[in-house]
Symmetry: C2
Subunit: 428 residues, 2 copies
């Protein structure tokens, strides 16, 4: 991993955010706070770095202390959670204490809450009344999706944005009432990200190819993230909006060029959708023969809506007899070379193409582990083959590292990447 530390960009005078997630359940093992990560992304887009994140329980004193601590780290504090109607929701009371202000029941809001319950045929429970207790002097942030409003309030040079913890409510209030204001008075510096996605190459191979481009763009942070079967390059440019857009586009071009056709997609584009688009555009149909991947490639391909237009089906040939009977793999190949061999992969691909009567077929056979490895064919050994009408069969062997799940996933993505490169005409 390379790249500038995201949290270290704040200079005095700039806005620096601290996020506090409030809720005792997030201190236990069952609930993960995901609001903070989403908030980080949105704040970054308007040029505000997050310098501190924390989780505290629903406790008056703990929340007040956390506000003091957070206000020493940042000058914009965003809290989520603790605005509900039950006794353990104490965020408003804690903020009031920290600010040294009162809360006051807003009768007009209370009447509207009651009316809303009545329209749905319910009587409003008394406990909900406290959601009409507003912080005196605070700007109220309307909540179109729920009962509890948010608040925006200032103490000295620290601003405090108080949001509910329900993700959909929190997101809507932030996008509707918070981000536009932050954007308006932002220094004009925003962050633009682009994710370049690569399959079928290891992290170090990607790093080696892009090293000169890293150097050229070293003032902008680039992060490499690797998962089984996929490597992602995250580019990030902080500048005024049009310059940020333009710079990230030029960076993308340079990185993509260094990777010579190996970028399968950007941002949210996934590999199975890319393969699907190439198949559809070229009017070709596909079948699969899956052994060690056990149906995972088919499952990935059919995740994409409309895949029935090009994907006819697959044989998951887990038993060797199935490879013989349903894919036409010869007994002799099995005996001479074994089920995990170039010859077996080739025959499986040809067999699948013939049985399903498709333009194209791919086959995968390998050893996912944990058992079944031998010195010549250790766990992680996988053979791939591609068969296309009137063309030579292409076969590749790869060795994947990791546990059963990692080998299966890496092999599945590698098969899709082979298909992608074949369809783009770039497969050697």
């Amino acid at each position: 991993v390379s790249g500038r530390a995201d949290g270290e960009t704040g200079e005095r005078g700039e806005t620096r955010a601290a996020i506090i997630a409030i809720g005792s359940e997030m201190l236990g093992p069952l609930r993960l706070d995901t609001n903070s990560q989403w908030l980080s992304a949105r704040l970054e887009e308007v040029g505000i770095p997050v310098v501190h994140k924390s989780i505290v329980g629903d406790d008056l004193e703990a929340i007040a202390e956390e506000l003091s601590h957070a206000s020493r780290r940042g000058n914009l504090i965003v809290t989520t959670g603790g605005l509900g109607p039950t006794a353990d929701d104490v965020t408003v009371a804690a903020v009031a204490r920290w600010l040294g202000v009162e809360v006051m029941r807003n009768e007009e809001f209370l009447a509207r809450m009651r009316a809303r319950f009545e329209r749905r045929g319910f009587r409003m429970p008394t406990t909900n009344e406290k959601q009409a207790d507003f912080l005196v002097g605070a700007h109220v942030l309307e909540n179109p999706r729920g009962t509890a409003p948010g608040f925006w309030v200032r103490r000295d040079d620290v601003e405090l944005v108080i949001l509910p913890g329900v993700p959909s409510e929190m997101r809507e209030i932030l996008e509707l009432s918070v981000l536009p204001r932050l954007k308006e008075r932002s220094s004009g510096i925003v962050a633009r990200r682009r994710v370049l996605r690569i399959a079928g190459m290891g992290e170090s191979a990607v790093e080696e190819r892009v090293a000169p481009v890293y150097e050229k763009w070293k003032e902008h942070p680039v992060t490499i993230l690797a998962s089984p079967g996929e490597v992602q390059l995250h580019l990030c440019v902080r500048a005024e909006p049009s310059r940020a857009e333009e710079t990230v586009a030029r960076m993308e071009q340079d990185f993509a060029q260094a990777l010579a056709g190996r970028v399968f997609g950007r941002d949210g584009e996934d590999l199975s959708a890319t393969v699907g688009r190439l198949l559809r555009d070229s009017g070709r149909t596909l079948a699969l023969a899956e052994s060690c991947t056990g149906g995972m490639i088919s499952s990935l391909l059919t995740d994409t809506p409309g895949s029935s237009a090009y994907f006819r089906g697959a044989v998951v040939s887990y038993a060797n007899s199935v490879k013989e009977e349903m894919l036409g793999l010869s007994r002799r190949t099995l005996e001479e070379h074994g089920a995990v061999s170039q010859e077996a992969a080739r025959q499986m691909a040809e067999g699948a193409r013939a049985r399903f009567d498709t333009d194209l077929a791919a086959a995968v056979t390998g050893i996912a582990g944990p058992d079944g490895g031998t010195p010549e064919k250790p766990v992680g050994t996988v053979w791939f083959a591609l068969s296309e009408r009137d063309r030579e069969v292409v076969a590749k062997r790869r060795s994947f590292i990791g546990d059963r799940g990692m080998v299966r996933r890496a092999a599945s993505l590698y098969a899709l990447e082979l298909l992608r490169r074949h369809l783009e005409g770039s497969l050697a």
Copy 2:
């Protein structure tokens, strides 16, 4: 959701933990801190509540300030991250500053590090040397999986456990060197959790069945979590170890009884492993015919190591012609009833059992969406069939809600649940 607030249990004199995740990348939008959640679970098991969690960047001053803050909230601070070899890893230096102690290079450890690199044929980069800088006076926690060791050190009445951020390394050190010591001197109150897992039933149906049991055990927190195709009941008992074990076992029994055979597994047991065990124990083999699930059931089944002992294979029959040619579905059935029908599911299951020559076969055919729905067969309609040698075919229809991914996942888990109940002899 019910349950006592997890973070509010600490009394003076008891151990209360604060967790600090160190790493600037976790302040940005790309990385989520998941170590803290795992740590919460392990600490809870030895009776230590977590009262505060935070994330700070790789910054000397920020880390030292966070240690001061955390030491006011808890008396056991666990940090993760910032022990790597690069310039931005400053956790050891920050802790040394906060403790007011020196760091000292451990030459013996350094020699061992060098030797390890050399055994793998590399020269150790100079940057790695700093990983041999140990905190003076700290107990060193060996890291069997990586270079950086952890540390355990005390300042006044606060204990500090410093761990690497790489999850596998962090976990191993905690389990090997930290938990046993914490357990030894714990107050005697521990938490025991049990997760009961249910498939093929909705959240409200589960809640309805267990309502009387909830009431009986209301002093212990029970949480319901739902995801597509699965509902989990999380039971939790805090007491001294043997009483906690015994109580959670009695709760489990009561809840399982109320659910009358619908609990497919507990804790980490998954449905495909349970089905696999039942198949293996009864010596039966299985084949699948998958349409709308597109290979997902096969993929789930073959996630389990050793699945080749009972799973022979599958036909993913995405195109109707494949259903005819490879599964023997009749043209007449397709024309009269359509591919999504009881008749089609039955013929597909029988066809798969015959083609793969297995004891048992399951078939799934449905409309995952977003397109393809009709008023009679809306998106989410799925037919299931089970065929077993010398027995009547069983067929079921279900309507799932949600997007394409949710329908596919729920249908896959439902098919596995049908198999489980059939194998246990409890399918009506």
